[in-house]
């Protein structure tokens, strides 16, 4: 059991949880994740560790409500319990002084980017960050990312904040203005990482991406998370989640992410119907 110390809404449908997990906090390195199971009947989902505090014995998770499990997380209260939090899993990001590192984060991918940007900066890199989202409120963790970067650019699809357009436009301009960085790290929706990879491949800039495949155990036992990298089958949970973005077969990844779309839809609808009923009952009882 893991106690929820803090829970706050940081953007519409984005929650930040601070959860007690002393042993995980102690060993966590940037790039690693945990498997979370809310209840006996729940499903196990991977969540990247956005921050860890070994002294306080806590880890920070940023969760976007997209499916039944993440929506139920939105209902948990401070002081409440999470049944199982396992980790830290995955291979940590290789952090060293590369020179200039561009961190491209999109949507929910900004959360896992935070410890990597902070780690890169601490290692002596010049960190230039580009964060994007559909609209202003979806560009999360702005203050934290600003503190972890030497320079930062924001983009929104609708132009409500920062420059209008996609992170890739900003990245192309950055390369044109400042020359090639030594490394690009891209974390976000698979399609964003694919476009970033296509761009940096042309410029021959080494690029890392962090993949968000469907997982069950998170320890290499099931193979559900497998992707094709450089023509070989690799397991995201143990070989990754970071890979050379130029070698990842994003088409396979994009398809595999759609594996359970109808079931996810069904679970979400049942969850919402359930809640609508409960809300109505609440009204009736009031």
């Amino acid at each position: 059991m893991h106690t929820i110390h803090r829970k706050e809404l940081i953007a519409p449908k984005f929650w930040r949880f601070v959860v007690a997990a002393p042993e995980i906090a102690r060993r966590h390195r940037p790039g690693q994740f945990v498997m979370v199971l809310l209840s006996d009947r729940g499903e196990r989902i991977p969540l990247t560790i956005a921050h860890s505090d070994p002294q306080a014995g806590t880890i920070t998770l940023v969760v976007q409500e997209v499916g039944k499990t993440t929506m139920s997380m939105g209902e948990l209260e401070e002081g409440g319990q999470i049944l199982s939090v396992v980790g830290p899993l995955g291979t940590p990001t290789h952090i060293e002084n590369f020179g200039t590192v561009v961190c491209v984060g999109g949507g929910a991918g900004i959360a896992p980017m935070l410890p990597i940007a902070a780690g890169m900066k601490k290692a002596g890199n010049r960190v230039l960050s580009i964060l994007g989202g559909r609209s202003e409120e979806l560009v999360i963790l702005r203050d934290e990312m600003t503190a972890a970067s030497d320079e930062i650019t924001f983009t929104t699809d609708d132009g409500s904040f920062g420059r209008k357009g996609f992170v890739t436009h900003a990245l192309a301009d950055l390369i044109a203005e400042k020359g090639k960085p030594d490394l690009v790290v891209a974390i976000g929706p698979a399609i964003m990482m694919k476009v970033v990879a296509d761009l940096t491949r042309k410029h021959e800039i080494p690029t890392l991406c962090s993949l968000n495949s469907i997982m069950i155990d998170g320890t290499g036992m099931c193979g559900c998370c497998r992707v094709t990298v450089g023509g070989q089958t690799r397991f995201v949970c143990v070989d990754g989640p970071e890979f050379d973005a130029h070698k990842v077969d994003f088409d396979v990844l994009l398809k595999r992410l759609r594996m359970f779309l109808p079931e996810e839809q069904e679970a979400r609808e049942r969850y919402m119907a359930d809640h609508a009923c409960r809300a109505l009952e609440g009204v009736a009882h009031a």
């Binding site: 042993e23 995980i24 060993r27 199971l37 009947r41 729940g42 499903e43 196990r44 039944k68 499990t69 049944l83 199982s84 939090v85 396992v86 980790g87 830290p88 899993l89 069950i216 155990d217 320890t219 290499g220 036992m221 099931c222 193979g223 559900c224 497998r226 992707v227 094709t228 089958t233 143990v238 396979v252 398809k255 595999r256 759609r258 594996m259 359970f260 079931e263 996810e264 069904e266 679970a267 049942r270």
Partner: protein, 494 residues
């Protein structure tokens, strides 16, 4: 059912040999493919005692030699005949920690029953069914007695993995007075017994019962704890103060076929499929949150116990046509005969001498079919089995919605890789001294079960756990006398 009832008389040898082996009452094939409840229903007391009457009480019982943990089989069977079920189960537990489980899943037909003297002329005594019967009587009566535990020794032992090897090792160490903690990566205890073997062969309540007993003996269990990730073995020794560490981490890494099309959606490892179904209870989606989808036509590649479980789960999940694709013949199938027969009764379409060549998919990435190559048996290979060789020009296609790959598992390297200095063989198995189960390269580290042998059986894992408990006990004695020290771990862990 009472644990002691009036027994049956001892018969003459001739009379005994006249009694036919008693069939196991089972759900009918038509009924059972519609549910996940246990297939075998168990003997009644009357049947069990009559079956027990068949045993010839051999002076040099071959069955005992055939049992990996040498249960005193004639003795426990005679106690059943006498109606002393409690005595019978106590007799079994002298050497077997988990009779309710072994009675259900052990390959008796290759162990005790195959060598039973009655096997040659008639049919062997149903040793496994009798073992299961008495263990169930005891559990149902709710009188399971906690074994006596010695006074606390002051020593702490860490056990990695809560499968049969870890459970057996923990139980024996607790009896010897040592303080035991089991670290288990998953959120549930039991290893393959909960994530692999389906409910209809081994009800999970039985596994939970055994684990609860272990807790009552004072064993601490920490689930959701991945050794190698949450903490290293070095930390277990030097920061958490454990005096010995036992690896019972099993063989949980799935193998894939290496044929084109393997990453299409709907191609899954047996581990993924069984974990979804058994551990996460996807057969009860959406009451449980984890989904599983099989579609109408399912192909399972392989023909071992794991493949049988996949075939039978797929059938129960509503697949209309379930096909077993295996490159050798029925004779070479490594599955237990009983499970193979049950699968055959459950309308599974067995394609012997068939090997998958390629998997087809559609533009959305979903599986649509499989190309199969017919094989024939050629010269014997290293294992002595005749090697399957392709029949030229015999390829054909089948349509499938799901392909389940059940061609074997190997050790998961998460914990071993994070333990510098631990000697592994080329399959990634830990190399141990067989008498003590201690690592040959890292004294104080012990191992047993599938992590040592590669994928094997429950009883071998359990037996290895018991041997290791002895080895650990001796090691702790030496540690106390200052004859040995804990491993220093000179190189930094990965």
């Amino acid at each position: 059912m009472p644990e002691r009832i009036e027994g049956l008389p001892e018969l003459t040898k001739k009379e005994r040999m006249k009694i036919a082996r008693h069939a196991m009452p089972e759900q009918t094939p038509e009924a059972r493919v519609e549910n996940f409840a246990e297939v075998a229903l168990g003997y009644t007391a009357a049947t069990a005692m009559e079956e027990a009457q068949r045993c010839l009480q051999c002076e040099k019982p071959l069955c005992v030699a055939g049992c990996p943990v040498e249960i005193d089989i004639p003795a426990f069977i005679d106690l059943i005949r006498q109606g002393d079920f409690k005595g019978a189960v106590a007799k079994i537990k002298e050497t077997n920690t988990l009779p309710a489980i072994c009675g259900r899943v052990c390959p008796q037909e290759d162990q005790c029953e195959v060598v039973c003297v009655l096997e040659k002329k008639f049919t062997p005594v149903a040793i496994g069914r009798l073992e299961r019967f008495v263990a169930d009587v005891e559990r149902d009566a709710g009188t399971t007695e906690m074994p006596h535990c010695a006074a606390p020794s002051g020593h702490k032992v860490a056990i990695i993995g809560c499968g049969p090897a870890g459970l057996a090792c923990a139980a024996d160490l607790a009896k010897l007075g040592h303080q035991v903690t089991i670290f288990e990566a998953l959120h549930k205890t039991g290893g393959v017994l909960v994530y692999g073997i389906p409910e209809f062969r081994l009800p999970k309540a039985i596994v939970d019962f055994e684990v609860e007993n272990l807790k009552r003996m004072g064993v601490e269990i920490r689930t959701g704890y991945v050794v190698g990730k949450t903490a290293t073995v070095e930390e277990l020794f030097h920061e958490q103060g454990y005096d010995a560490v036992f690896f019972g981490t099993g063989a949980g890494l799935p193998s894939f076929l290496g044929v084109p099309g393997e990453n299409y959606i709907g191609v899954v490892s047996a581990n993924e499929f069984l974990t979804r179904v058994n551990l996460m209870k996807a057969y009860d989606f959406p009451n449980y949150d984890t989904p599983v989808r099989v579609g109408k036509r399912v192909a399972v590649v392989g023909s071992g116990n794991v493949a049988m479980d996949c075939l039978r789960c797929a059938k129960r999940l509503g697949a209309e046509h379930v096909i077993c694709v295996y490159r050798r013949t029925r004779n070479e199938s490594p599955a237990r005969k009983e499970e193979l027969e049950r699968a055959e009764e459950e309308f599974i379409d067995f394609r012997w001498l068939s090997a998958p060549l390629e998997i087809y998919g559609n533009d959305d990435g979903f599986v649509t079919g499989m190309k199969i190559q017919r094989m024939e048996l050629g010269e014997p290979d290293a294992s002595g089995r005749r090697r399957p060789v392709p029949v030229a020009g015999s390829e054909y296609d089948i349509e499938v919605d799901t392909v389940i790959v059940a061609i074997g598992q190997s050790p998961n390297p998460l914990a071993t890789r994070a333990t510098p200095g631990l000697e592994l063989n080329r399959h990634g198995c830990i190399v141990v001294d067989e008498a003590t189960m201690m690592s040959r390269s890292l004294p104080g580290v012990f191992a047993g079960g599938d992590i040592v042998t590669g994928a094997a059986t429950v009883i071998l894992a359990m037996g290895a756990g018991k041997v290791a408990a002895r080895g650990i006990h001796d090691w702790l004695g030496k540690l106390e006398r200052g004859e040995v020290t804990k491993p220093p771990f000179t190189s930094a862990p990965a």
